[in-house]
Symmetry: C2
Subunit: 281 residues, 2 copies
């Protein structure tokens, strides 16, 4: 399971907000960043035990400007020290030297293990990322089929050569990742496939053997554990499922528990449910 860091001030446990009153900080952003820091480090210590990786959704950090960006960079170390891989969900995509700057920013300066990348600009936009896959053991996940309702508008467009656009992108992911196989036969060039499209997901799983899938959409976005069954391979591996809000804000569901325990309880239940599905149980 991947633990998603999508911090949202309004949804934090009231205790966290109360511990950081606005008056104690120079700005709203500094106050919120202090809340996020305390909250996410505590979640890491509790629910992190159930996870293999943390996925940081950088948009929520950017929303606090440079102060939030600093927090994004600061959290990478603690996640790794807790034995978790760090995936920066940045969905960047740009050309030539600009792509190089993005790869440098996230895979080197922020030093995360993997990033998500938008493929719309084609292979030269990926080259700086792929170089760091080959030379520095980093990973990337290309957006193939996203979990949102309007993903169909563009990703499902039928091509003249047959099949939807997302299947063509899946084919390119197969090409781009050739030669990046690691110890367990999985590649370092993965794909983002939303858990909210069970049928398309199973097709994509079959189309991309050896390609690790990063699966959003579980929990708060509506996908159930059973919807995800087709995303795992026969050995029950090959997909990592992200959950952000359902874990981070589990205190709203488990009102009887302290918020750290609520998050851990929810993470544990999710891990067990996913395990059963992955194993075909």
């Amino acid at each position: 399971m991947v633990l998603g860091f999508d911090p949202d001030y309004q949804l934090l446990p009231p205790q966290v907000r109360e511990a950081h009153p606005r008056g104690a900080y120079g700005s709203d952003e500094e106050m919120k960043a202090a809340c996020y820091r305390e909250f996410l480090l505590a979640i890491l210590e509790s629910a992190g035990e159930e996870a293999v990786a943390v996925k940081m959704q950088i948009a929520y950090f950017e929303a606090l400007g440079a102060t939030g960006y600093r927090l994004y960079e600061d959290l990478v170390g603690p996640c790794r020290e807790n034995g978790l891989l760090v995936i920066a969900d940045v969905k960047r995509g740009d050309i030539g030297s600009t792509a190089e700057a993005y790869a440098q920013a996230h895979l080197e300066k922020a030093a995360v293990d993997a990033v998500t990348v938008n493929p719309y600009l084609g292979s030269d936009s990926l080259e700086p990322f792929l170089r760091r896959v080959r030379e520095k053991g980093k990973g990337i996940f290309l957006l193939v089929k996203t979990s949102n309702p309007s993903s169909a508008e563009i990703q499902d467009l039928e091509l003249a050569s047959g099949g939807p656009l997302y299947a063509r992108i899946a084919g390119l992911v197969n090409e781009w990742g050739r030669g990046t196989e690691g110890g367990r036969g999985y590649r370092s060039v993965g794909a983002v496939v939303g858990g909210t499209h069970p049928r398309d997901g199973a097709v994509l799983r079959a189309m991309m053997p050896g390609v690790p899938l990063l699966v959003p959409g579980y929990g708060a976005q509506g996908a159930s554990a059973r919807d995800l069954a087709g995303l795992f391979d026969k050995g029950g591996t090959g997909a990592v499922v992200n959950s952000s809000r359902a874990i981070l804000y589990a205190h709203q569901k488990h009102e009887d528990l302290p918020w750290r325990e609520a998050a851990q309880r929810e993470a544990n239940q999710m891990r067990v449910a996913l395990w059963e599905v992955a194993k075909g149980g």
Copy 2:
């Protein structure tokens, strides 16, 4: 003309680098950010006179981490005080509440006038940006056909319904921007169309009347002023052409001039050349 801020430490005038020795700063990033700040503010004062907008390529700022992100935010005010619009070239694209966080980060917190957006995730990923177009007078530019060589791999894919993918995206840009017309008949929902594809560009210009085009690829990327002729409408408007490196690093071409003047000279020559092409001269 749009003045592109793509700061690259290696390409700065030697005088700027020498004025900020590494030892005077706490980190490499702080030293480079100090160089960029001095350099870009000087370019703004000189070459900025020839431009209508500044396009900040955020990747080069992110490459310096939080220190660079702070500089990105800090430069917006001076650009606007010089009478220029600020376009943040962020190419973001994500779903629901994440898209909301990006729109907040750039159109509100950083307070730029417009952003570039990647359309691969469909209309729900645009909604938070479109709301700020309608309610706050902001602008967006959707990636339609980018200037890089491998843009063809995905953007030119032929659809079963006829025509390439980028033309379909252009059709969506027409839909998404309906009702955002401003004083001169131009909409606040624009399109990014690379100047390196003259024939496709002219087709796209005709397909999207009233849609302002943001045109990269002029100068360093190989498009000449004549290549751009088809991107302007009959009145010689409707497109803003970006130039980054050719202006910023004009000191490498005009070795006889101080670097500020070299940038201004180059910017002036570009503006005149573009004006002649736009007017059909």
